[in-house]
Amino acid sequence: MEVYKADVAIVGAGGAGLRAAIAVAESDPKLKIALISKVYPMRSHTVAAEGGAAAVTRPDDSLDHHFNDTVGGGDWLCEQDVVEYFVAHAHEEMVQMEHWGCPWSRKEDGHANVRPFGGMKIERTWFAADKTGFHMLHTLFQTSIKYPSIKRFDEHFCVDLVVEDGRVQGVVAIEIATGEFRLIQAKAVIVATGGAGRVFRENTNGGIVTGDGMALAYRHGVPLRDMEFMQYHPTCMPRTGLLFTEACRGEGGFLLNKDGYRYLQDYGLGPPEDKPRNKFMELGPRDRLSQAFWHEQQKGRTIEGPFGSVVNLDLRHLGEAYLRERLPQIYELAEEFMGVDPAHTPIPVVPGVHYTMGGILADGKTASGLPGLYSVGECSSVGIHGANRLGSNSLTELIVFGKVAGDEAAKFAKATSISNPGAIEKQADAIQARALGIVNKADGTERIAVLRTEMAKSMESGCGIYRLGTTMQETCNKIDELKQRYKKLKVDDKSKVYNTDWLLAIELGYLLDVAQVIVYSAFNRKESRGSHQRLDGYEQRDDVNYLKHTLAYYNGDGAPRIEYGDVKITKSKPGTRAYGAAGVKADEERKKQGAANG
């Protein structure tokens, strides 16, 4: 097998992986970096992010505001020391992106502009029209070309980490164009493989978002944290799940039920006003908005039609010219995919799975418990999202913690050396044999697409916007069953060049592991918090028993072992999560209390 010797290997070339690669290159140009991605970097799913990236910018804003929005938004399941670091370093990273050429939208005076976003008290979301993720990704990719120490392995599919002597010492990848295996030796490995939204059916994620890195780290004993928290985005295209960015509401869009009524006022988010107001109504947090949809549907107030049950996202009052300028991509999506002209007709929308809040357990410096292994981006859980991520915090996370991961991995790599190259190569051979075993199996009977569809359907019923013990139990059983059937998978394509069938089979294995963690973690959390909402006697948040992180450990063929870890609380004691007028009141009370307590 061909061997490449790197100092730092990075799996994943989305926003997080690219930012980490640049950080390693800048910290020491002598370090050899291997940047591995199963697609060309600019195809990574960061490309799809529309709305923007949060950083305290305006004079009337403060780090405390951003901190409070994030921690409250996460229903107090955030690591507060990490959030403090995050909000403090957000702005300089935005400026860094600007220096690298990111076409941020501007104000007339030439400074970067900010827009409001759901759950954020003050406008602090930097944006590049409605293609923020696209521009950030291309800017990072193109900037990375400047650094000769970054060696890219484009269209290389990572099949495993190599753990030797109790630490990570490389990865094995398939060169997709030839089907050949490659061992990439490295003293430190950063996993930046993105989320796992593809575990579900209707979702906003790309086909490549299959939880690969999560599954790989998990199989090597690193726990996955808080995986029961999956974010539903309230405004997606029915059936395809494609996203209509939150910026639609930030710019002033309304959500209407079948009576043309702004129903969010019935769910503690009012009162309604004509102009968008931060943390009110349509600018409430995503979990609340998705839950409100569910209730409307129960009450028979959604619109039934060719697209199933939907509500309307009404942008008409903003006018065509404004929409074309501020939300050009949304305009195009609605027109081309649905035949709807948003300047004249409201857009039918439904909630869809959007973001994986949990991930590979990492400390505030992105290190996992396994020496040499770091994780960053959506695959990671450094602890800033808690039970519900605020829109526009994750793009910022990519660059703030991408830099941290790069710096930390570089430090680690410089202090270590490869311990036992012979043993590493032997392991790589074993990994290769396992991966080939999937395609060479003679007696397989199960179809990839069938298992994948059954998984996604079951996850949707068990781990939807609202959850019940009984259906979650059914989903646990279903995923267990699918994992058994996966062993009898049949791969029709036996070739080597661009054998995408084989890769889909391996991805399905990753998906099933992650799905199992999600549903078992959810089943065991007997409370309602953030995006995890139960209707079977656990409707309330239970801080006594569950102000805790779920930690799911790999357990071979069996169900994951579920343990719990403490939540780091520094300055914000768990309070009521309230929005709209109730939120203003709660804020005032908290202030009063704070003053009384000194």
Binding site: A177, T178, G179, E180, S495, K496, V497
Partner: protein, 131 residues
């Protein structure tokens, strides 16, 4: 050893593949006519240099039926050439703003065509006035 064997498709007859290519080729072919007509005019210039009789002979020749047919064809071809040239013109101009608004390609093409028509009319008028 690599199993890759990228397959390169032939470009034979590429310009027939797409209507867009056909119209592009038509634009290229019309430039031949433009050149040809320039030769005709050049010839007239040479004749003028050879004296009035020679020039009148050339003028007579232009009035033969074949040359009239040729002129009709050339006129049509020129119209197409002019149109296709102004159609591509916006592509050759940097992004422009007038009164804070982006100048649209259609405006550039339209302005160009209008200018061409005005110039032709003016020329006809002048020539008509002289003779």
């Amino acid at each position: 050893m690599s199993n890759r064997r990228p397959y390169v498709r032939s470009m034979d007859g590429w310009w027939k593949r797409d209507a867009y290519f056909v119209s592009y080729m038509a634009r290229e072919v019309t430039s031949v006519f433009v050149a040809a007509y320039a030769v005709v005019l050049l010839f007239g210039l040479v004749r003028l240099g050879q004296g009035e009789a020679a020039f009148n002979g050339w003028l007579q020749y232009l009035k033969t039926p074949w040359m009239l047919v040729f002129h009709v064809i050339v006129l049509a071809v020129f119209c197409y050439h002019t149109w296709s040239w102004f159609k591509i013109m916006p592509k050759t101009m940097p992004i422009m703003f007038v009164g804070g608004k982006r100048v649209q390609p259609g405006t550039i093409t339209g302005t160009g065509l209008a200018a061409a028509v005005v110039a032709c009319l003016a020329l006809l008028f002048i020539v008509g006035g002289v003779s």
